[in-house]
């Protein structure tokens, strides 16, 4: 396996430029050139389709966790019919362990705004919403300012830069529900309703916001669009892993010396990420476990990580997923029972309550885990937990039940001895 050359990678989303969040600094550094060329350079971009094709060619796998080719998603939009069409940008970012989009909001909001404008132009969209989680109050204010600046400079609004393309851009704040990061439930929330995921089909591209065609993209995905237009699909594809190309914003948290968000190519070895990028384990402790992509992705034991790289294919070989590339690194002192209880508590708290298996299952899981955590569990409870996870998985409208079930299943199967050690001894002698 060829290793990815990450040491010489120059960040494009969060480069080291002072005050890049200011529109003047951004334009001075080549900002809004991509959008301008898409609008005006008819030789390079004869029509909207050419933009979609370029993005499709770049194979930007959606950075919100599902990993679907963004350009392909765009191509599902039906032809424009003169009525409203929407782009909903998902900045809800509520998964524990994930905190990458806030870096974009904070350090380089215009790269995202530009990407969103390019996407909107390519799909002939009339209105863009960016949905930002309510806890990001500071970034909501910053985004409002950035969007206002872009309006003032004429990048958003009527007849942008003298073209016949017009679009509006709104910030919408979440109100503290994880489920509103699920794309269809985000649409419900945008419509002012209770955040319940919708049944698919119909898919948002057919019937989305207010029943109109809608595309939903992650903030980071749209930010990448700007660099794809600037530097070309070939540049993007040349970076990182073959099937999951391009830079990724890795959010590293946990027991490392330098936690934070790092923009690096995909396919970087997990151990390099921990030991070199994040400065190694804190207090020189042993690595015990890593959650590779936000709390819903199956946890990996340290001994599973050798040779594993941060891309979907490699992680699949050891039974995990890339998710949002938010790594949670845990050292030898970590109590996995506590970790799992805390994760299960989160999903119980955040289950919207619409579907039976998730509503009831998440609560049951956390209650049994609490029992085990308190030393009152029995061995049979572990098997019951695994049973409940199978009863939940794949039987609900959205993926929250799966997200709640996986950590339980994989943490127990991968750290079963720790869980058994917490349980009461069986009263039945084993023959």
């Amino acid at each position: 396996m060829s290793t990815v050359d990450w040491k010489n990678y120059e960040p494009v989303l969060i480069p080291d430029i002072k005050d890049l969040h200011k529109i003047d600094v951004y334009t001075k550094n080549g900002g809004y050139k991509a959008f301008e060329s898409v609008l005006k350079d008819k030789d390079k971009w004869p029509d909207q389709k050419s933009v979609i094709n370029e993005v499709k060619e770049a194979n930007i796998r959606g950075r919100g966790g599902a990993g679907f080719n963004a350009g392909l998603k765009w191509s599902f939009m039906p032809p424009a019919d003169g009525k409203p069409r929407y782009l909903a940008c998902n900045g809800d970012e509520s998964e524990p362990g994930t905190f990458k989009d806030r870096k974009i909001f904070e350090y380089n909001p215009h790269v995202f705004i530009e990407g969103a404008l390019i996407a909107a132009y390519a799909m002939e969209i009339t209105t863009i919403y960016v949905y930002i989680r309510g806890e990001y109050k500071v970034y909501i204010d910053m985004m409002n300012k950035a969007i206002q600046d872009a309006y003032d400079k004429g990048y958003i609004g009527k007849n942008i830069l003298g073209s016949d393309y017009s679009v509006d851009f709104y910030v919408h704040s979440g109100a503290g529900a994880y489920i509103c990061g699920e794309e269809t439930s985000m649409l419900e929330s945008l419509e002012g309703k209770r955040g319940y995921p919708r049944i698919k089909p119909p898919f948002p591209a057919q019937k989305g916001l207010w029943g109109r065609p809608t595309t939903i993209n992650n903030i980071e995905t749209l930010a990448h669009v700007t660099s794809v237009i600037n530097k070309g699909a070939d540049w993007f594809k040349s970076i990182g892993a073959e099937n999951h190309p391009g830079p990724i914003l890795y959010g590293i948290s946990g027991h490392v010396n330098r936690p934070g968000v790092y923009e690096l190519p995909s396919g970087i070895p997990v151990l390099d990420l921990i030991n070199e990028v994040a400065g190694g384990m804190r207090n020189d402790k042993e690595l015990k476990a890593v959650i590779p992509g936000g709390s819903s992705t199956p946890v990996l034991r340290a001994d599973q990580l050798e040779g594993i790289t941060m891309d979907a294919d490699s992680l699949r070989t050891v039974g995990s997923m890339l998710g949002t590339a938010g790594l949670v690194v845990m050292d030898e002192d970590t109590d996995m029972v506590d970790v799992l209880w805390r994760i299960a508590h989160f999903y119980h708290h955040e289950s919207c309550g619409q579907c039976t298996p998730c509503r009831e299952g998440t609560g049951w899981l956390v209650k049994i885990l609490l029992k085990i955590k308190n030393g009152e569990g029995e061995i049979k409870d572990l098997d019951l937990l695994l049973d409940i996870t199978t009863q939940m998985e794949g039987r609900t409208i959205c993926a929250l039940a799966d997200a709640a079930a996986w950590p339980v299943r994989y943490t127990i199967t991968r750290f079963r001895n720790e869980f058994e050690a917490r349980c009461k001894k069986s009263v039945h002698a084993i023959a």
Partner: protein, 577 residues
Amino acid sequence: MPQVIIDGQAYEFEGQHKLLQFIQDLGKEVPFFCYHPSMSIPANCRQCMVKVGMYVKSRETGEYEIDDNGNKVIRWFPKLQTSCNVDVADDMVVHTQETDEEVRRAQKDNLEFILINHPLDCPICDQAGECPLQIQTYKYGPEGSRFEVKKVHKPKRVQLGPRVVLDAERCINCTRCTRFTEEISKTHQLTITSRGDKNYPITAPGREFDDPYSLNTVDICPVGALTSADFRFKARVWEMNQTPSIDITNGKGCNIDLWTRDNLVLRITPRFNEEVNDHWMPDEGREAYRIFNENRASKPKQKLDGEQILSSWNNAIATFNEQIEAHDKKDILFVGSPHASVEENYVLSKFANLVGLNPPVFTTHIEKGKGDGFLITDDLAPNTNGSRMLGFNELDEKALKNKVKNAKLVVLLSDHLVDRGVLNADDLDGKYLINFATNNSETTKLADLVIPITTAAEHAASYVNVDRRIQRTLPAKETRYTNRRLDLEMSEGRLDRYGTNFDNWVTEDNKVDCLPLWRFITEAANNSGLDLALTSGREIMEEISGNLASFEGVSYEIMDEQGGIQLSPDTKTAKTK
């Protein structure tokens, strides 16, 4: 024709169908809770899981792909599907719980989930006996529970509004009630609050659930979470008789069921009729059960020296005939009623005809602006159109008042004209008033002769609603003179069948001493030597449909078969054939 294969059996179909409804229409079953045929499909209970696949056709040839055993290859959907929101498609293969272990397992798992936080208080729950959760748990649920931790606790006995009480712990969050207020009654009064296993339906803070259709949520609640404030704890459902009937509180004529026990109507619930009320009825109509039980006119009453005293039926018949004979024909006024059935009004007019009087007059009972364009109408009477179609002289209130003033003998059919403010005591001063009445009222107080007659809960009779649809009732409770076991049309519940007069649950106490109007009129006519023999509503309707063009083709059989008959809207007035 396209076909779908369900449990190995091929069914042809046309048009668009949702799989769950399609399976139900075949008379088969898949368990479900949240689905309701008249509302949107949320697919949130996840109970109606089935396995769905499609026959695979070769891309090039368009032929079915065949496996080694000669069977058509099926490409199954990767997950089990909720049948409520799957569109039936050509070449679709469906396995329900009848043929598939995976589906059985999924349904059992789901019921286990639903039950873990359910209080399982069936012995004290009003819904028990008619509870989809109870029924489906027995049929498809797990044998026991593996839930050994604490259940979630939520608010209990919450008075949501004047008529509905919530027990949030029993709620399984199917959202039928919230969807009802959003989609059917459109008051948006209920919503789900909180998240996950803590959520339950509630009104906005400080608001009441006073929707005029609020009790429908109690009917559609698949558990005992929403109960009727009035009916709760009154009876177990298996103790009651269920008799189909018609709502007589307004002009819509919602199809209903009367639930009786020991000859008391205990509750009224809507009965499905797509043409009239779908699955719904207004709360007002349910309150009407009191009309059948309370304040009933029982045993004839006669005024003696200005005071009403109880009389006998013989006396009442004799007095009735005496008064008709004693008065000049021009001084006698027969007043029909939009509150009484077609049959009763017909009998009255037939009698008037026999003794050579003018046909009865009547006045409508309409309150402008009361209607809501849904199931509540301006018309407060169930049979205004029926009275019109019998050819009665329709008078406005003032004209009726004048008519009464000029008459000396007024025969009034169960219409509380004094209570309604059409007449007052002065108008009736010096007149002899004969009142056929179901209930006591200010009007009956002024009558010189009160003849108690049966209500819609005690006889079979028809009513023509505001849309000119004729529908009929069935006797639900016994009077002194009827016997459930001898009347083919009366239903017999468990207590009726096995109870005896010595049991405290089957008593004589609630049998009202009253007669159907036609029986009284027949006897009175026969007593004075007139030839009249009308013994049942069915017989009278046969006579009406034979005599009057506007009722042509109407019969109880057809009404029963078709849920009423839509009478042609152009026959405004009655024409004799």
